[in-house]
Protein backbone atom coordinates (compact mmCIF):
# COMPACT_ATOMS: atom_id res chain seq x y z
CA UNK A 1 0.00 0.00 0.00
CA UNK A 2 1.25 3.45 -0.90
CA UNK A 3 2.03 5.36 2.26
CA UNK A 4 0.38 8.66 3.04
CA UNK A 5 3.55 10.76 3.09
CA UNK A 6 4.53 10.30 -0.58
CA UNK A 7 0.93 10.92 -1.62
CA UNK A 8 0.76 14.10 0.46
CA UNK A 9 4.08 15.36 -0.89
CA UNK A 10 3.11 14.58 -4.48
CA UNK A 11 -0.20 16.38 -3.96
CA UNK A 12 1.63 19.43 -2.60
CA UNK A 13 3.92 19.43 -5.62
CA UNK A 14 0.91 19.20 -7.89
CA UNK A 15 -0.54 22.26 -6.14
CA UNK A 16 2.63 24.30 -6.63
CA UNK A 17 1.51 26.14 -9.79
CA UNK A 18 -1.69 27.28 -8.10
CA UNK A 19 0.18 28.48 -5.04
CA UNK A 20 3.03 30.09 -6.88
CA UNK A 21 2.95 33.82 -7.53
CA UNK A 22 5.31 33.58 -10.51
CA UNK A 23 6.23 31.38 -13.45
CA UNK A 24 9.69 30.95 -11.94
CA UNK A 25 8.48 28.62 -9.20
CA UNK A 26 6.24 26.75 -11.63
CA UNK A 27 9.32 26.07 -13.73
CA UNK A 28 11.32 25.03 -10.66
CA UNK A 29 8.54 22.59 -9.75
CA UNK A 30 8.59 21.23 -13.31
CA UNK A 31 12.34 20.70 -13.10
CA UNK A 32 11.92 18.93 -9.76
CA UNK A 33 9.40 16.51 -11.23
CA UNK A 34 11.57 15.74 -14.27
CA UNK A 35 14.59 15.23 -12.00
CA UNK A 36 12.43 13.09 -9.69
CA UNK A 37 11.37 10.76 -12.54
CA UNK A 38 15.02 10.49 -13.57
CA UNK A 39 16.17 9.80 -10.01
CA UNK A 40 13.34 7.30 -9.45
CA UNK A 41 14.43 5.44 -12.57
CA UNK A 42 18.02 5.28 -11.32
CA UNK A 43 16.70 4.15 -7.93
CA UNK A 44 15.36 0.98 -9.57
CA UNK A 45 18.96 0.04 -10.23
CA UNK A 46 20.75 1.54 -7.23
CA UNK A 47 18.19 1.17 -4.47
CA UNK A 48 16.27 -1.94 -5.46
CA UNK A 49 18.80 -3.75 -7.64
CA UNK A 50 22.00 -2.89 -5.74
CA UNK A 51 23.66 -1.85 -9.01
CA UNK A 52 25.37 1.53 -8.79
CA UNK A 53 25.45 3.17 -12.21
CA UNK A 54 27.45 6.23 -13.17
CA UNK A 55 26.11 6.33 -16.71
CA UNK A 56 22.40 6.82 -16.25
CA UNK A 57 22.45 10.19 -18.01
CA UNK A 58 22.82 8.14 -21.21
CA UNK A 59 19.08 7.46 -21.25
CA UNK A 60 18.06 11.00 -20.32
CA UNK A 61 20.42 12.46 -22.92
CA UNK A 62 19.85 10.07 -25.83
CA UNK A 63 16.09 10.35 -25.43
CA UNK A 64 16.30 14.17 -25.34
CA UNK A 65 18.58 14.23 -28.40
CA UNK A 66 16.34 11.81 -30.31
CA UNK A 67 13.19 13.77 -29.52
CA UNK A 68 14.60 17.08 -30.73
CA UNK A 69 16.49 15.57 -33.68
CA UNK A 70 13.46 13.66 -34.95
CA UNK A 71 11.23 16.75 -34.78
CA UNK A 72 13.64 19.43 -36.00
CA UNK A 73 15.86 17.48 -38.43
CA UNK A 74 13.74 14.53 -39.57
CA UNK A 75 10.40 16.35 -39.64
CA UNK A 76 8.63 13.73 -37.50
CA UNK A 77 5.53 14.79 -35.53
CA UNK A 78 5.81 15.43 -31.82
CA UNK A 79 3.95 12.37 -30.55
CA UNK A 80 5.68 9.81 -32.82
CA UNK A 81 9.02 11.49 -32.13
CA UNK A 82 8.52 11.25 -28.36
CA UNK A 83 7.34 7.62 -28.64
CA UNK A 84 10.25 6.72 -30.95
CA UNK A 85 12.71 8.39 -28.58
CA UNK A 86 11.44 6.30 -25.67
CA UNK A 87 11.38 3.06 -27.70
CA UNK A 88 14.83 3.54 -29.22
CA UNK A 89 16.39 4.61 -25.92
CA UNK A 90 14.83 1.62 -24.18
CA UNK A 91 16.25 -0.62 -26.93
CA UNK A 92 19.65 0.97 -26.29
CA UNK A 93 19.27 0.16 -22.59
CA UNK A 94 18.85 -3.53 -23.52
CA UNK A 95 22.19 -3.42 -25.35
CA UNK A 96 23.89 -1.45 -22.57
CA UNK A 97 22.40 -3.78 -19.98
CA UNK A 98 23.78 -6.85 -21.73
CA UNK A 99 27.23 -5.22 -21.76
CA UNK A 100 27.19 -3.72 -18.26
CA UNK A 101 25.71 -6.77 -16.53
CA UNK A 102 28.73 -8.83 -17.41
CA UNK A 103 29.89 -7.46 -14.07
CA UNK A 104 28.49 -6.25 -10.76
CA UNK A 105 29.87 -3.84 -8.17
CA UNK A 106 32.83 -1.73 -9.30
CA UNK A 107 32.99 -3.45 -12.68
CA UNK A 108 29.37 -2.57 -13.40
CA UNK A 109 29.98 1.01 -12.29
CA UNK A 110 33.00 1.33 -14.58
CA UNK A 111 31.20 -0.12 -17.61
CA UNK A 112 28.21 2.19 -17.17
CA UNK A 113 30.59 5.12 -16.71
CA UNK A 114 32.47 4.18 -19.89
CA UNK A 115 29.28 3.77 -21.94
CA UNK A 116 28.01 7.13 -20.71
CA UNK A 117 31.29 8.80 -21.57
CA UNK A 118 31.24 7.30 -25.08
CA UNK A 119 27.84 8.87 -25.70
CA UNK A 120 28.99 12.18 -24.24
CA UNK A 121 32.01 12.10 -26.59
CA UNK A 122 29.76 11.26 -29.53
CA UNK A 123 27.48 14.18 -28.72
CA UNK A 124 30.50 16.49 -28.73
CA UNK A 125 32.21 15.15 -31.83
CA UNK A 126 29.40 14.01 -34.13
CA UNK A 127 28.65 17.61 -35.01
CA UNK A 128 26.60 16.88 -38.16
CA UNK A 129 23.99 15.04 -36.12
CA UNK A 130 24.22 16.44 -32.61
CA UNK A 131 25.26 20.00 -33.33
CA UNK A 132 28.40 19.40 -31.27
CA UNK A 133 29.03 21.89 -28.49
CA UNK A 134 26.17 24.07 -29.74
CA UNK A 135 23.65 21.28 -29.29
CA UNK A 136 20.26 21.09 -30.97
CA UNK A 137 17.78 23.94 -30.73
CA UNK A 138 14.89 25.46 -32.70
CA UNK A 139 12.47 23.16 -30.91
CA UNK A 140 9.06 24.43 -29.80
CA UNK A 141 6.49 22.88 -27.53
CA UNK A 142 3.37 21.64 -29.36
CA UNK A 143 -0.33 22.43 -28.80
CA UNK A 144 -1.96 18.98 -28.41
CA UNK A 145 -5.77 19.09 -28.21
CA UNK A 146 -5.65 22.88 -28.07
CA UNK A 147 -3.55 22.88 -24.88
CA UNK A 148 -0.67 25.30 -25.30
CA UNK A 149 2.30 23.53 -23.70
CA UNK A 150 4.33 26.71 -24.12
CA UNK A 151 2.49 27.89 -21.01
CA UNK A 152 4.56 26.99 -17.91
CA UNK A 153 1.41 25.93 -16.01
CA UNK A 154 0.11 23.67 -18.78
CA UNK A 155 3.52 22.12 -19.19
CA UNK A 156 3.83 21.70 -15.45
CA UNK A 157 0.49 19.88 -15.23
CA UNK A 158 1.50 17.60 -18.12
CA UNK A 159 4.77 16.83 -16.35
CA UNK A 160 2.88 16.26 -13.09
CA UNK A 161 0.57 13.77 -14.82
CA UNK A 162 3.56 11.86 -16.25
CA UNK A 163 5.28 11.98 -12.85
CA UNK A 164 2.19 10.58 -11.13
CA UNK A 165 2.02 7.71 -13.64
CA UNK A 166 5.75 7.04 -13.31
CA UNK A 167 5.62 7.09 -9.50
CA UNK A 168 2.63 4.76 -9.26
CA UNK A 169 3.96 2.32 -11.87
CA UNK A 170 7.39 2.22 -10.26
CA UNK A 171 5.75 1.79 -6.83
CA UNK A 172 3.78 -1.16 -8.19
CA UNK A 173 6.89 -2.63 -9.82
CA UNK A 174 9.01 -2.59 -6.66
CA UNK A 175 6.14 -4.02 -4.58
CA UNK A 176 5.31 -6.71 -7.13
CA UNK A 177 6.46 -10.31 -7.12
CA UNK A 178 9.15 -9.26 -9.59
CA UNK A 179 10.14 -6.38 -7.29
CA UNK A 180 10.44 -8.81 -4.37
CA UNK A 181 12.77 -10.87 -6.53
CA UNK A 182 14.79 -7.82 -7.54
CA UNK A 183 15.37 -6.93 -3.88
CA UNK A 184 16.19 -10.54 -3.13
CA UNK A 185 18.78 -10.50 -5.91
CA UNK A 186 20.22 -7.30 -4.43
CA UNK A 187 20.57 -8.87 -0.96
CA UNK A 188 21.46 -12.50 -1.69
CA UNK A 189 22.10 -13.18 -5.39
CA UNK A 190 23.57 -16.63 -4.78
CA UNK A 191 20.65 -17.70 -2.65
CA UNK A 192 18.17 -16.36 -5.22
CA UNK A 193 19.89 -18.40 -7.91
CA UNK A 194 19.59 -21.46 -5.69
CA UNK A 195 15.86 -20.72 -5.42
CA UNK A 196 15.42 -20.82 -9.20
CA UNK A 197 15.59 -17.09 -9.97
CA UNK A 198 17.45 -16.10 -13.14
CA UNK A 199 19.58 -13.48 -11.40
CA UNK A 200 21.10 -11.99 -14.55
CA UNK A 201 17.71 -11.67 -16.26
CA UNK A 202 16.13 -10.06 -13.19
CA UNK A 203 18.91 -7.46 -13.24
CA UNK A 204 18.53 -6.93 -16.99
CA UNK A 205 14.77 -6.36 -16.69
CA UNK A 206 15.42 -3.81 -13.93
CA UNK A 207 18.11 -2.18 -16.07
CA UNK A 208 15.73 -1.86 -19.02
CA UNK A 209 12.92 -0.54 -16.80
CA UNK A 210 15.34 2.08 -15.47
CA UNK A 211 16.33 2.92 -19.04
CA UNK A 212 12.68 3.26 -20.06
CA UNK A 213 11.85 5.73 -17.27
CA UNK A 214 15.12 7.56 -17.87
CA UNK A 215 14.00 7.95 -21.49
CA UNK A 216 10.60 9.28 -20.39
CA UNK A 217 12.42 11.86 -18.24
CA UNK A 218 14.56 12.67 -21.32
CA UNK A 219 11.50 13.47 -23.45
CA UNK A 220 10.21 15.81 -20.73
CA UNK A 221 13.68 17.33 -20.41
CA UNK A 222 13.72 18.03 -24.18
CA UNK A 223 10.31 19.69 -24.13
CA UNK A 224 11.07 21.67 -20.97
CA UNK A 225 14.41 23.07 -22.14
CA UNK A 226 13.59 23.07 -25.88
CA UNK A 227 17.30 22.58 -26.34
CA UNK A 228 19.81 19.82 -25.77
CA UNK A 229 23.61 19.90 -25.57
CA UNK A 230 26.33 17.40 -24.55
CA UNK A 231 25.97 18.71 -20.98
CA UNK A 232 22.93 16.44 -20.49
CA UNK A 233 25.11 13.38 -21.18
CA UNK A 234 28.00 14.49 -19.00
CA UNK A 235 29.22 12.53 -15.98
CA UNK A 236 27.97 15.36 -13.74
CA UNK A 237 24.43 14.66 -14.92
CA UNK A 238 24.69 10.99 -13.91
CA UNK A 239 26.43 11.88 -10.64
CA UNK A 240 23.74 14.43 -9.80
CA UNK A 241 21.02 11.79 -10.19
CA UNK A 242 23.03 9.40 -8.03
CA UNK A 243 23.34 12.11 -5.37
CA UNK A 244 19.57 12.63 -5.45
CA UNK A 245 19.02 8.91 -4.87
CA UNK A 246 21.62 8.57 -2.12
CA UNK A 247 20.73 11.83 -0.36
CA UNK A 248 17.00 11.08 -0.40
CA UNK A 249 17.35 7.40 0.47
CA UNK A 250 18.13 4.60 -1.96
CA UNK A 251 15.64 1.77 -2.00
CA UNK A 252 12.74 3.98 -0.92
CA UNK A 253 10.12 5.45 -3.23
CA UNK A 254 10.03 8.87 -1.67
CA UNK A 255 13.80 9.20 -1.27
CA UNK A 256 14.70 10.09 -4.88
CA UNK A 257 11.83 12.60 -4.98
CA UNK A 258 13.14 14.32 -1.85
CA UNK A 259 16.66 14.15 -3.28
CA UNK A 260 15.42 15.82 -6.47
CA UNK A 261 13.77 18.58 -4.42
CA UNK A 262 17.01 19.23 -2.51
CA UNK A 263 19.26 19.31 -5.58
CA UNK A 264 16.97 21.30 -7.88
CA UNK A 265 16.13 23.82 -5.14
CA UNK A 266 19.81 24.31 -4.35
CA UNK A 267 20.64 24.68 -8.04
CA UNK A 268 17.82 27.01 -8.97
CA UNK A 269 16.69 28.86 -5.88
CA UNK A 270 19.61 28.98 -3.47
CA UNK A 271 22.01 29.80 -6.31
CA UNK A 272 20.11 33.08 -6.78
CA UNK A 273 21.14 34.17 -3.27
CA UNK A 274 24.37 32.28 -2.63
CA UNK A 275 27.17 32.72 -5.15
CA UNK A 276 29.05 29.65 -3.97
CA UNK A 277 25.99 27.41 -4.05
CA UNK A 278 28.00 24.40 -5.27
CA UNK A 279 29.98 24.61 -2.03
CA UNK A 280 26.69 24.67 -0.15
CA UNK A 281 25.48 21.65 -2.13
CA UNK A 282 28.65 19.80 -1.11
CA UNK A 283 28.17 20.76 2.54
CA UNK A 284 24.56 19.60 2.48
CA UNK A 285 25.61 16.22 1.14
CA UNK A 286 28.43 15.87 3.65
CA UNK A 287 25.92 16.65 6.42
CA UNK A 288 23.46 14.08 5.07
CA UNK A 289 26.11 11.39 4.79
CA UNK A 290 27.47 12.23 8.26
CA UNK A 291 24.16 12.37 10.13
CA UNK A 292 21.81 10.27 7.98
CA UNK A 293 23.98 7.92 5.96
CA UNK A 294 20.91 5.95 4.90
CA UNK A 295 19.44 9.13 3.32
CA UNK A 296 16.92 11.75 4.37
CA UNK A 297 13.73 9.70 4.11
CA UNK A 298 14.93 6.61 6.01
CA UNK A 299 16.86 8.92 8.37
CA UNK A 300 13.82 10.96 9.36
CA UNK A 301 11.83 7.74 9.56
CA UNK A 302 14.39 6.41 12.04
CA UNK A 303 14.21 9.61 14.12
CA UNK A 304 10.42 9.47 14.10
CA UNK A 305 10.42 5.86 15.30
CA UNK A 306 12.97 6.65 17.99
CA UNK A 307 10.87 9.58 19.24
CA UNK A 308 7.77 7.39 19.23
CA UNK A 309 9.58 4.71 21.27
CA UNK A 310 10.83 7.36 23.70
CA UNK A 311 7.33 8.80 24.06
CA UNK A 312 5.93 5.31 24.63
CA UNK A 313 8.68 4.67 27.21
CA UNK A 314 7.86 7.91 29.09
CA UNK A 315 4.19 6.99 29.15
Amino acid sequence: MIRALPVALSSLLLLAPALSPSDFYVNVATQILIAAIFALSLNLLVGYGGLISLGHAAYLGVSAYLTIWLVTRAGVGHLPAAAAAVVLTTAMSVLFGVLALRATGLGFLMITLALGQILWGLAYRWVSVTGGDNGLSGFDRPRPFGIDLASPRAFYLTTAAVFACAFVLMAVLVRSTFGAGLQGVRDQPRRMQALGWHVWMVRLVAFVAAGFWGAVAGVLYAYYNQFVSPHVLALTSSAEALLMVIAGGAGTLLGPVVGAVVVVMLKNVVSAYVTRWVLLLGLVFVAIVAFMPEGLVPGFDRLRRRRRRRTAGDA
Binding site: R175, A180, A194
Partner: protein, 247 residues
Protein backbone atom coordinates in the same frame (compact mmCIF):
# COMPACT_ATOMS: atom_id res chain seq x y z
CA UNK B 1 11.39 -42.72 -13.11
CA UNK B 2 15.14 -43.34 -13.33
CA UNK B 3 16.60 -45.46 -10.52
CA UNK B 4 19.53 -43.06 -10.40
CA UNK B 5 18.89 -39.56 -9.09
CA UNK B 6 22.39 -38.15 -9.38
CA UNK B 7 25.44 -39.41 -11.22
CA UNK B 8 28.88 -37.82 -11.28
CA UNK B 9 31.57 -39.13 -13.58
CA UNK B 10 35.22 -38.12 -13.24
CA UNK B 11 34.31 -34.65 -11.98
CA UNK B 12 37.28 -32.39 -11.20
CA UNK B 13 37.68 -28.82 -10.04
CA UNK B 14 40.82 -26.83 -9.27
CA UNK B 15 41.28 -23.34 -7.87
CA UNK B 16 44.40 -21.67 -9.23
CA UNK B 17 46.11 -25.01 -9.78
CA UNK B 18 45.09 -26.36 -6.38
CA UNK B 19 42.80 -29.37 -6.92
CA UNK B 20 39.67 -29.26 -4.73
CA UNK B 21 37.82 -32.16 -6.36
CA UNK B 22 39.76 -34.84 -8.23
CA UNK B 23 38.03 -37.23 -10.60
CA UNK B 24 35.04 -37.90 -8.38
CA UNK B 25 32.58 -40.50 -9.66
CA UNK B 26 29.44 -41.03 -7.66
CA UNK B 27 26.03 -42.58 -8.13
CA UNK B 28 23.12 -41.81 -5.81
CA UNK B 29 19.89 -43.75 -6.16
CA UNK B 30 16.49 -42.15 -6.31
CA UNK B 31 15.12 -41.71 -2.80
CA UNK B 32 18.45 -42.53 -1.14
CA UNK B 33 19.80 -40.82 1.99
CA UNK B 34 23.50 -40.26 1.36
CA UNK B 35 26.03 -38.74 3.71
CA UNK B 36 29.21 -37.03 2.49
CA UNK B 37 31.90 -37.24 5.11
CA UNK B 38 35.38 -35.88 5.21
CA UNK B 39 37.69 -33.57 7.12
CA UNK B 40 37.78 -29.83 6.42
CA UNK B 41 39.09 -29.14 2.94
CA UNK B 42 38.07 -32.56 1.63
CA UNK B 43 36.05 -30.94 -1.17
CA UNK B 44 32.54 -31.72 0.09
CA UNK B 45 31.04 -28.23 -0.30
CA UNK B 46 32.88 -27.75 -3.60
CA UNK B 47 31.23 -30.95 -4.79
CA UNK B 48 27.82 -29.53 -3.79
CA UNK B 49 28.65 -26.30 -5.62
CA UNK B 50 29.52 -28.28 -8.75
CA UNK B 51 26.23 -30.17 -8.60
CA UNK B 52 24.14 -27.03 -8.07
CA UNK B 53 26.01 -25.00 -10.70
CA UNK B 54 27.47 -22.45 -8.28
CA UNK B 55 30.78 -23.56 -9.79
CA UNK B 56 31.46 -25.06 -13.22
CA UNK B 57 33.47 -28.29 -13.23
CA UNK B 58 36.81 -28.29 -15.06
CA UNK B 59 36.13 -31.77 -16.39
CA UNK B 60 33.59 -34.53 -15.94
CA UNK B 61 29.91 -35.12 -16.27
CA UNK B 62 27.02 -34.51 -13.85
CA UNK B 63 23.65 -36.10 -14.55
CA UNK B 64 20.40 -35.40 -12.73
CA UNK B 65 17.85 -38.14 -13.39
CA UNK B 66 19.80 -39.04 -16.51
CA UNK B 67 19.99 -35.49 -17.83
CA UNK B 68 23.39 -33.88 -18.35
CA UNK B 69 23.53 -30.72 -16.25
CA UNK B 70 27.23 -29.97 -15.85
CA UNK B 71 27.01 -26.95 -18.19
CA UNK B 72 23.46 -25.95 -17.31
CA UNK B 73 22.80 -22.62 -15.57
CA UNK B 74 22.34 -22.98 -11.81
CA UNK B 75 18.80 -21.59 -11.73
CA UNK B 76 17.67 -24.06 -14.41
CA UNK B 77 18.86 -27.00 -12.31
CA UNK B 78 16.51 -25.83 -9.56
CA UNK B 79 13.62 -26.08 -12.03
CA UNK B 80 14.63 -29.71 -12.63
CA UNK B 81 14.09 -30.48 -8.95
CA UNK B 82 17.42 -29.68 -7.30
CA UNK B 83 17.37 -27.76 -4.01
CA UNK B 84 20.03 -26.98 -1.46
CA UNK B 85 20.80 -25.36 1.85
CA UNK B 86 24.02 -23.53 2.67
CA UNK B 87 26.58 -24.11 5.38
CA UNK B 88 26.44 -20.39 6.24
CA UNK B 89 22.86 -19.18 6.49
CA UNK B 90 22.06 -16.96 3.51
CA UNK B 91 18.53 -15.72 3.98
CA UNK B 92 16.78 -12.35 3.93
CA UNK B 93 17.03 -10.92 7.44
CA UNK B 94 14.85 -7.84 6.82
CA UNK B 95 11.98 -9.91 5.49
CA UNK B 96 9.53 -11.92 7.55
CA UNK B 97 9.65 -15.70 7.65
CA UNK B 98 6.59 -15.85 5.38
CA UNK B 99 8.20 -13.46 2.89
CA UNK B 100 11.36 -15.59 2.86
CA UNK B 101 9.21 -18.59 2.01
CA UNK B 102 7.33 -16.62 -0.64
CA UNK B 103 10.61 -15.86 -2.42
CA UNK B 104 11.34 -19.58 -2.51
CA UNK B 105 7.87 -20.37 -3.85
CA UNK B 106 8.09 -17.62 -6.48
CA UNK B 107 11.43 -18.99 -7.67
CA UNK B 108 9.60 -21.80 -9.47
CA UNK B 109 6.48 -19.83 -10.41
CA UNK B 110 5.88 -17.86 -13.63
CA UNK B 111 4.52 -15.19 -11.31
CA UNK B 112 8.10 -14.15 -10.53
CA UNK B 113 8.27 -12.17 -13.80
CA UNK B 114 5.01 -10.33 -13.20
CA UNK B 115 5.75 -6.62 -12.59
CA UNK B 116 2.22 -5.77 -11.42
CA UNK B 117 1.26 -8.78 -9.28
CA UNK B 118 1.37 -7.67 -5.65
CA UNK B 119 2.20 -10.53 -3.24
CA UNK B 120 -0.27 -9.01 -0.77
CA UNK B 121 -3.04 -9.62 -3.34
CA UNK B 122 -2.03 -13.25 -3.80
CA UNK B 123 -3.42 -15.02 -0.71
CA UNK B 124 -2.62 -18.43 -2.20
CA UNK B 125 1.09 -17.55 -2.07
CA UNK B 126 0.92 -16.72 1.62
CA UNK B 127 -1.18 -19.78 2.38
CA UNK B 128 1.42 -22.02 0.76
CA UNK B 129 4.18 -20.25 2.71
CA UNK B 130 2.25 -20.73 5.95
CA UNK B 131 1.66 -24.39 5.18
CA UNK B 132 5.40 -24.99 4.80
CA UNK B 133 6.14 -23.03 7.98
CA UNK B 134 3.58 -25.21 9.72
CA UNK B 135 5.56 -28.30 8.64
CA UNK B 136 8.66 -26.97 10.39
CA UNK B 137 6.76 -25.70 13.42
CA UNK B 138 7.23 -22.00 12.68
CA UNK B 139 3.76 -20.93 11.58
CA UNK B 140 3.27 -18.81 14.71
CA UNK B 141 6.40 -16.83 13.83
CA UNK B 142 5.41 -16.27 10.18
CA UNK B 143 5.21 -12.49 10.48
CA UNK B 144 8.37 -12.08 12.54
CA UNK B 145 11.39 -10.65 10.77
CA UNK B 146 14.03 -13.27 10.15
CA UNK B 147 16.57 -11.04 11.93
CA UNK B 148 14.46 -11.37 15.09
CA UNK B 149 14.57 -15.17 15.14
CA UNK B 150 17.11 -17.53 16.70
CA UNK B 151 19.87 -19.26 14.78
CA UNK B 152 18.09 -22.57 15.13
CA UNK B 153 14.88 -21.13 13.73
CA UNK B 154 16.82 -19.68 10.79
CA UNK B 155 18.21 -23.14 10.06
CA UNK B 156 14.66 -24.46 10.02
CA UNK B 157 13.62 -21.68 7.64
CA UNK B 158 16.52 -22.66 5.35
CA UNK B 159 15.28 -26.23 5.23
CA UNK B 160 11.68 -25.06 4.85
CA UNK B 161 12.63 -22.91 1.85
CA UNK B 162 14.26 -25.88 0.16
CA UNK B 163 11.33 -28.18 0.98
CA UNK B 164 8.78 -25.61 -0.21
CA UNK B 165 10.06 -26.17 -3.73
CA UNK B 166 9.13 -29.85 -3.51
CA UNK B 167 12.56 -30.93 -4.73
CA UNK B 168 13.46 -34.34 -6.11
CA UNK B 169 17.04 -34.03 -4.86
CA UNK B 170 17.86 -32.09 -1.71
CA UNK B 171 21.45 -31.15 -0.81
CA UNK B 172 21.93 -30.23 2.86
CA UNK B 173 25.23 -28.58 3.74
CA UNK B 174 25.88 -29.07 7.47
CA UNK B 175 22.29 -28.55 8.62
CA UNK B 176 23.24 -29.19 12.26
CA UNK B 177 26.15 -26.76 12.42
CA UNK B 178 26.04 -24.42 15.40
CA UNK B 179 22.83 -25.84 16.86
CA UNK B 180 22.06 -26.77 20.44
CA UNK B 181 21.10 -30.36 21.34
CA UNK B 182 17.40 -29.45 21.40
CA UNK B 183 17.63 -27.69 18.03
CA UNK B 184 19.47 -30.67 16.57
CA UNK B 185 16.69 -32.98 17.67
CA UNK B 186 14.15 -30.64 16.04
CA UNK B 187 16.05 -30.62 12.72
CA UNK B 188 16.43 -34.40 12.94
CA UNK B 189 12.66 -34.73 13.29
CA UNK B 190 12.17 -32.53 10.23
CA UNK B 191 14.67 -34.47 8.14
CA UNK B 192 13.05 -37.75 9.14
CA UNK B 193 9.72 -36.37 7.89
CA UNK B 194 11.04 -35.67 4.37
CA UNK B 195 9.10 -37.88 1.94
CA UNK B 196 10.91 -40.99 0.71
CA UNK B 197 10.68 -39.93 -2.92
CA UNK B 198 13.05 -37.06 -2.18
CA UNK B 199 16.72 -37.98 -2.53
CA UNK B 200 18.73 -36.37 0.26
CA UNK B 201 22.49 -35.81 0.20
CA UNK B 202 23.94 -34.36 3.38
CA UNK B 203 27.30 -33.02 4.47
CA UNK B 204 27.63 -33.24 8.22
CA UNK B 205 30.39 -33.45 10.80
CA UNK B 206 28.16 -34.53 13.67
CA UNK B 207 28.56 -38.28 13.22
CA UNK B 208 25.93 -39.23 15.78
CA UNK B 209 23.06 -37.52 13.97
CA UNK B 210 24.47 -38.03 10.48
CA UNK B 211 25.06 -41.76 10.81
CA UNK B 212 21.55 -42.32 12.13
CA UNK B 213 20.18 -40.56 9.04
CA UNK B 214 22.30 -41.93 6.20
CA UNK B 215 21.84 -45.20 4.37
CA UNK B 216 25.10 -44.94 2.47
CA UNK B 217 28.16 -42.90 3.17
CA UNK B 218 30.80 -41.46 0.87
CA UNK B 219 34.04 -40.36 2.46
CA UNK B 220 36.11 -37.72 0.71
CA UNK B 221 39.71 -36.88 1.42
CA UNK B 222 41.76 -34.29 -0.43
CA UNK B 223 39.17 -34.06 -3.20
CA UNK B 224 38.94 -37.81 -3.81
CA UNK B 225 36.55 -40.53 -2.70
CA UNK B 226 38.45 -42.90 -0.45
CA UNK B 227 35.61 -45.16 0.54
CA UNK B 228 31.91 -45.60 -0.08
CA UNK B 229 29.55 -48.00 1.55
CA UNK B 230 27.12 -48.70 4.37
CA UNK B 231 27.59 -47.25 7.84
CA UNK B 232 29.23 -50.43 9.11
CA UNK B 233 31.58 -50.65 6.14
CA UNK B 234 32.69 -47.05 6.43
CA UNK B 235 33.16 -47.05 10.18
CA UNK B 236 35.22 -50.25 9.91
CA UNK B 237 37.42 -48.95 7.10
CA UNK B 238 41.00 -48.38 8.17
CA UNK B 239 41.52 -45.42 5.80
CA UNK B 240 38.51 -43.61 7.27
CA UNK B 241 39.79 -44.13 10.77
CA UNK B 242 43.15 -42.81 9.69
CA UNK B 243 42.12 -39.68 7.77
CA UNK B 244 38.85 -38.79 9.43
CA UNK B 245 38.62 -40.27 12.87
CA UNK B 246 42.32 -39.76 13.52
CA UNK B 247 42.80 -43.31 14.73
Amino acid sequence: MSAEALRLEAVSKSFGGLPAVRGVSLSIADGERRLLLGPNGAGKTTLFNLVTGDLPPDTGSIRLFGREISRMAAHRRVHLGLARTYQVITLFPRKTLAQNLELALLGLSPLRWNPVALPSRRPELRERALAVLERVGLRAAADRRLADTSYGEQRRVEIAMALSQEPRVLLLDEPFAGLSQEERREIQRQLAAIPRQVTVVMIEHDLDVALSFAERITVLHQGQIIVEGSRAEVVADARVQEVYLGA
